[in-house]
């Protein structure tokens, strides 16, 4: 049966689920950011798969591009934060940064 | 028509508070200024008592100004009026709180050393709040003053109290507030369902029995906490032990009466059917309260806590008297409110006198004071015997009527309440003996000085009415009679509507039943 029916969406869902799992459980800040990228790609895939062959192909592509751009900005800022965190705490482990507990 | 009296009764202490707050004077100047206002308040209260027309059952000197309107979803807004009025039920209480005003000030002068200005402001606001509660004839206004009178005591106990004052005052405040919140819900229910918050109108409207029961129970909770009735009484001993003497006098003297007055005016007055239905239960709890309060008092070693527990027992007598729902019981309840205010007020005054000299309240610390300070011992003896209801003093007529009312309602209830008189004698006399009689056990007691001018003045202000009520009770009972008879007619109306309700439900339940319309209430 064709890949472009349900399976492509299953792939997207799987990627998204893995992204969430990585985001929620990995303690290393950088891997967390990567998981975010993963989730964004899953979204991209869904957009494109849905628009395949229809009149909205260009729009889907444009949206995908927007997503990629935003992902880039997000990655940059995320990494800068990780850098700053490292300077203060000498580690990228997220659990260390818990000074704001109340 | 002299409708200026009542707003002045509430206004004088309020203005006094303002004056004291702004006056540039120092300690003594402030006290004398406040005393001036309180003396005016007392004079006006006595003037009101004399001018009150004892034959007219409904409210007099009423003063009513529209205040604001409660917007309701449907229909027009519910008008709320600043409506003050006095009638038989509240006459004696207004007179009592007027009379207590100078007593509070005089006793405060002895033991308030710091932040006097604030204390005076708070006590004057307190008095205004109390008068407001007894005078308001509009439910929302009643609630307004009910809350207003709570805050000053919170500060009085909280700032000038004893070591555990914060715990005591927070407990007191929250406990009473919880009750009044439930009351607020019932109040709003009434406002929105019956379109009015005027007590007079609500009393005449015949509210369906089921709604009456709900509202009555809500109001009853708030008042039961305030009275206090037994399961809700634990805040009283703590509040009293930690409160300064002036705070204790006002708390025991008037604040507790708001609960019983509320039961009377709002509970029985507005929801007679529910009152008839719950009457026996509340009276039963009241009787249990008498015995439990007395046992509590007997076990105490702290003089002030003993008197606090004794007022739990006395308030139980008042509740039993009132919820006997008959002529004698209601008269007794109203009179006993005043008697308890006077005798317990005097007892706390005397404990304050000892506390100012020895800074300790344990009964074991005293002994044989009659030999050192005989005048004090005489006044203490008079107060003790008035509190256990000795004929010739004010306690007897009130307690006699309450017990007679209880007996008329049901002999068992009468017997249970009467046990209180015996237990009362046991713990009060044992306290009196351990404090005033026997050899002088402590060295410090040797050098105690007797009552000074100020203390004598405040004691005499309380002693005069105590002896007068004892010798001529009719002077104080007669003016309340028309209002009580009006209340009795309300109760009869409640009994009829209850019987109708039971009758109706019986008819529905068993269409063929022979016996319908059996009266649900007392015999």
């Amino acid at each position: 049966m064709t890949f472009f029916g349900a399976p492509v969406y299953f792939l997207a869902v799987a990627l998204f689920a893995l992204g969430i799992f990585g985001f929620l459980t990995r303690r290393n800040a950088i891997v967390v950011l990567m998981s975010v990228e993963l989730m964004l790609n899953a979204a991209n895939l869904t957009f494109l798969a849905a628009a395949r062959g229809t009149a909205h192909v260009h729009e889907a592509s444009a949206y995908a591009i927007f997503i990629i751009l935003v992902a880039a900005a997000e990655a940059a800022v995320g990494l800068a934060l990780v850098l700053a965190l490292f300077r203060i705490k000498q580690s990228t482990d997220l659990d260390v940064a818990s000074d704001l507990k109340g | 028509m002299n409708d200026w009296i009542l707003p002045l009764l509430v206004g004088i202490p309020a203005l006094g508070a303002l004056a004291v707050a702004l006056a540039p004077a120092k300690r003594d100047g402030l006290f004398s200024l406040a005393l001036l206002f309180c003396a005016a308040e007392a004079a006006l209260a006595i003037f009101t008592f004399t001018k009150f027309d004892g034959t007219n059952p409904n409210e007099q000197f009423s003063f009513s100004r529209p205040w604001f309107a409660l917007p309701t979803g449907a229909g027009e807004a519910v008008p709320v009026a600043f409506h003050l009025g006095i009638d038989g039920l509240s006459l004696l209480l207004v007179a009592l709180s007027g009379l207590l005003a100078p007593v509070i000030l005089l006793s405060a002068k002895g033991h308030i050393e710091r932040r006097e200005r604030e204390f005076l402001v708070w006590s004057l606001v307190m008095i205004a709040g109390m008068q407001g509660v007894f005078l308001s004839r509009d439910l929302l206004l009643f609630y307004f003053f009910w809350e207003i009178s709570l805050i000053p005591l919170y500060f009085i106990i909280g700032i000038w109290g004893g070591p555990r004052r914060v715990y005591a005052t927070v407990k007191f405040f929250l406990y009473t507030l919880a009750g009044s919140v439930v009351m607020l819900i019932a109040l709003l229910y009434l406002a929105y369902n019956f379109g009015t918050v005027a007590i007079q109108e609500l009393s005449t409207k015949d509210i369906p029995v089921r709604a009456q029961l709900g509202c009555f129970l809500a109001f009853a909770l708030a008042f039961a906490i305030k009275v206090p009735m037994v399961p809700f009484h634990t805040w009283l001993p703590d509040a009293h032990v930690e409160a300064p003497t002036a705070g204790s006098i006002v708390l025991a003297g008037v604040l507790l009466k708001m609960g019983t007055y509320g039961f009377l005016r709002l509970g029985v007055g507005m929801f007679p059917a529910a009152a008839v239905q719950c009457g026996p239960w509340i009276a039963g709890i009241g009787a249990a309260g008498i015995i439990y309060g007395s046992l509590l008092a007997y076990g105490q070693s702290d003089m002030k806590k003993l008197i606090a527990c004794s007022s739990v027992a006395h308030m139980g007598t008042i509740v039993v008297g009132m919820f006997a729902l008959n002529a004698a019981g209601l008269r007794g309840g109203i009179l006993q409110m005043i008697n308890h205010g006077l005798s317990t007020g005097l007892l706390f005054l005397l404990v304050g006198v000892l506390y100012e000299r020895r800074h300790v309240r344990e009964i074991a610390e005293f002994g044989g004071l009659a030999q050192v300070i005989p005048a004090f011992a005489v006044v203490l003896t008079v107060a003790t015997f008035s509190s256990i209801g000795l004929p010739g003093l004010n306690g007897f007529p009130g307690e006699f009527l309450c017990l007679k009312g209880a007996f008329d309602a049901s002999p068992l209830l009468g017997a249970a309440a009467a046990v209180g008189t015996v237990l009362g004698a046991v713990y009060m006399l044992s306290m009196l003996r351990r404090v005033a009689f026997g050899p002088i056990t402590r060295g410090e007691n040797q050098k105690l000085i007797d009552l000074n001018g100020r203390e004598w003045a405040s004691a005499i202000i309380l002693l005069i009415p105590m002896v007068w009520i004892g010798l001529q009770p009719s002077l104080f009972i007669k003016p309340t009679e028309p209002a009580v008879d009006l209340l009795i007619s309300q109760i009869e109306k409640g009994r009829r509507s209850l019987a109708l309700e039971n009758g109706a439900s019986l008819k529905i339940a068993n269409a063929g039943a022979a016996e319908t319309g059996k009266s649900g209430g007392r015999r």
Binding site: - | T234, R331, G438
Partner: protein
């Protein structure tokens, strides 16, 4: 007749005057210690007040003779409006209350005169007379009251004064405790009285169905039968509970022996002549109730007899001169209730009057002896006072003779009347035999009374002195009342000679209007009186009893303590129990005081932990919940995102499931 309120008013005014004088002496004493006590002034005021009241009573006595039913009333209407039955502050002077007034104010005046001597030098002199006057005023209110609540005012008033007077020397904690015990036990009695009052007001309705507190109305309604039998019995029994509390009958007698802690004039006035007789007065005043209910009157009779016997046994071994007299008072009161219970109201009233005289005489005599022996009260440390105190010896002998029932003395006749009344009286519990048993108990008590009375006389006055004190003479102000009372005791015999000596019974005729309320049932004893021969037999028996008692006492105590000590060793067990007063005090202490104290502590703990615990629990649980909630915000980013994720997932699931 506006003279009536004057009777209690004079002592009230006297009390007020003495109080003011006392306050002035206190102020004076504080300024310069040792200011001269104006004893003479205080004593004069107090005694004059009582004498004035006595004078008015005498006047009243003669005035009511001309009144139709010998009855005069004075009322302040609507004193306490109760909505139902009104309570009026009213006095009534009728045969019964007039005699009581005479006795109270007469004996009271003599005792006041005696007290001016007895209390000399006491620093609370004025205070004593304030209380004594107040007491007489309260007693007069009690006697003159025309309705139950006003009687209750007098009732509690005398309770208060006995509390104040017993604990007069309050420096001694023992005396203060005795005072408190007296008041509390009285209050237990008053509990019963209160309920009886309410019961009478609600149940004893007249034809129109309206209840009332007035004696007249209540008696009428009972006689007219408007009241169900069980209600009459309940009222009767409750009234008797009140009477037991006040007149120290069996269950509630424990306070009287301790009440001897008060000064002797107090014991004479309150615990012999007046207050303790209030219970009997109440029973006589409400006799229709006791006539109507056989159960109530039988209970009264039996409790009276039991108390008489019980108290007499304790009297045999008491060492303290005042304790002996206290037990004898309880025993004689038992006699009065026995007579009243059997319907012989006039006999018991007659004995009440004579008892008031000779018991007051004995107490005053004992007071004189105590004062002479520098406050020594133990009989075993006295002896041979005959020579030192001749007048006291003679007057006390007269009193003792009357108490013991020596023939031709007033006590003999009145006690005989009672015993006759028991035999011929209403059958107790419905059968005759019990009357016989009660007669035997009465006789035994009479025997013991005779024995311990003369034991007291011999121990105190006969034999050689067993103490190194040399007694000094008492002032005139004390001896005159003794003589007066002795004369009264002798004269009282004339009040009611037995019918066998001819129909000379002035007291009985005088009381008829009050006691004849119930017509035939009113005075059962007289209805089928004893035949002449039975009466002679009765008189002989009583005389014999008295003589046996006298000779026994003379034999054992004539030669000092030797024989009595031997007798005591013979039966140590019984002797010990009697000395320890049948361990009743310990029993009461254990049963009542301890349980009450325990209940107080338990209530305190229950209150602090359960009720307060619940309140604090609510507060604590709120705090705990807050702490738990705070655990969520642990600062870790990922835990926040976890909850975020969980929320999102749940939302999506909800949307999916719902659509």
């Amino acid at each position: 007749m506006s003279l009536l309120p004057l009777i209690p008013l004079f002592p009230l005014v006297g009390a007020a005057a003495c109080a003011i004088l006392h306050a002035r002496t206190l102020a004076a004493r504080r300024r310069d210690a040792g200011a001269a006590q104006n004893e003479r002034v205080v004593g004069a005021i107090a005694t004059l007040a009582i004498v004035a009241s006595f004078a008015v009573s005498v006047a009243g006595f003669f005035i009511i003779q001309h009144e139709p039913e010998r009855r005069v009333a004075w009322i302040v209407s609507n004193w306490i409006p109760t909505g139902g039955q009104t309570i009026d502050f009213g006095f009534v002077l009728d045969p019964l209350s007039s005699v009581m007034c005479l006795v109270v104010s007469g004996v009271g005046a003599l005792i006041h005169m005696y007290a001016t001597g007895y209390m000399r030098g006491d620093k609370g002199y004025a205070r004593f007379f304030t209380y004594l006057n107040l007491f007489v005023a309260a007693m007069l209110i009690l006697v003159l009251a025309d309705s139950l609540p006003i009687l209750f005012i007098g009732w509690e008033g005398v309770g208060l004064c006995s509390y104040l007077l017993i604990g007069f020397w309050h420096e001694n904690m023992k005396y203060a405790e005795a005072g408190q015990k007296a008041f509390v036990v009285n209050r237990i009695g008053d509990f019963g009285f209160l309920l009886a009052m309410f019961g009478a007001a609600t149940w004893c309705v007249d034809a129109a169905g309206k209840g009332s507190f007035q004696f007249a109305a209540i008696n009428e309604s009972v006689l007219a039968g408007h009241v169900e039998p069980w209600q009459v019995t309940v009222i009767g029994l409750l009234l008797f509970v009140g009477a037991c509390g006040k007149s120290a009958q069996l269950p509630l007698y424990v306070w009287l022996p301790d009440a001897m802690a008060g000064p002797t004039p107090v014991s004479a006035l309150i615990h012999a002549a007046t207050m303790v007789t209030a219970g009997v007065y109440l029973v006589i005043r409400m006799h229709p109730i006791f006539d109507a209910s056989v159960l109530a009157s039988s209970v009264v009779a039996c409790v009276g007899a039991a108390t008489a016997l019980f108290a007499a046994t304790m009297g045999l071994v008491a060492r303290d001169i005042k304790k002996v007299l206290a037990y004898s008072t309880i025993s004689q009161l038992g006699f009065l209730f026995l007579g009243a219970g059997c319907g012989a109201y006039d006999a018991s009233f007659y004995h009440l009057v004579t008892h008031a005289f000779f018991k007051a005489l004995l107490f005053l005599g004992a007071g004189a002896v105590i004062l002479a022996m520098h406050h020594e009260q133990d009989l075993f440390k006295m002896g041979g006072l005959k020579r030192a105190l001749p007048l006291e010896y003679r007057t006390m002998f007269v009193g003792a003779a009357a108490l013991a029932g020596i023939p031709l003395m007033s006590g003999f006749f009145s006690k005989d009347e009672i015993l006759g009344g028991v035999l011929a009286g209403r059958p107790v519990f419905g059968n005759e035999q019990i009357n016989l048993v009660l007669y035997v108990v009465g006789a035994a008590t009479a025997l013991m009374t005779a024995f311990y009375t003369f034991r007291l006389i011999y121990l105190a006055f006969e034999g050689e002195s067993r103490s190194n004190e040399h007694p000094h003479a008492n002032p005139a102000s004390m001896t005159i009342p003794l003589a007066a009372l002795a004369l009264l005791t002798i004269a009282a015999a004339a009040l009611g000679l037995p019918s066998v000596f001819g129909e000379f019974k002035p007291l009985e005729h005088w009381l008829n209007p009050v006691l004849e309320l119930g017509g035939e049932s009113g005075n059962a004893a007289k209805a089928h009186g004893l035949s002449h021969s039975a009466q002679w037999l009765l008189l002989g028996a009583s005389a014999a009893i008295a003589m046996i008692g006298y000779s026994l006492a003379r034999a054992t105590y004539g030669g000092g303590l030797a024989k009595s000590r031997a007798r005591a060793e013979a039966m140590p067990g019984i002797y010990k129990t009697l000395v320890d007063r049948w361990y009743v005090d310990e029993l009461y202490h254990a049963v009542f005081t301890k349980t009450l104290r325990l209940a107080g502590v338990v209530a305190g703990l229950f209150d602090a932990y359960v009720v307060d615990g619940a309140v604090n629990g609510v507060a604590a649980s709120a705090k705990r919940a807050a702490a738990a909630a705070r655990g969520l915000a642990d600062g870790k980013l990922q835990s926040y995102s976890l909850w975020f994720g969980a929320g999102a997932v749940a939302l999506v699931a909800a949307v999916l499931l719902l659509i």
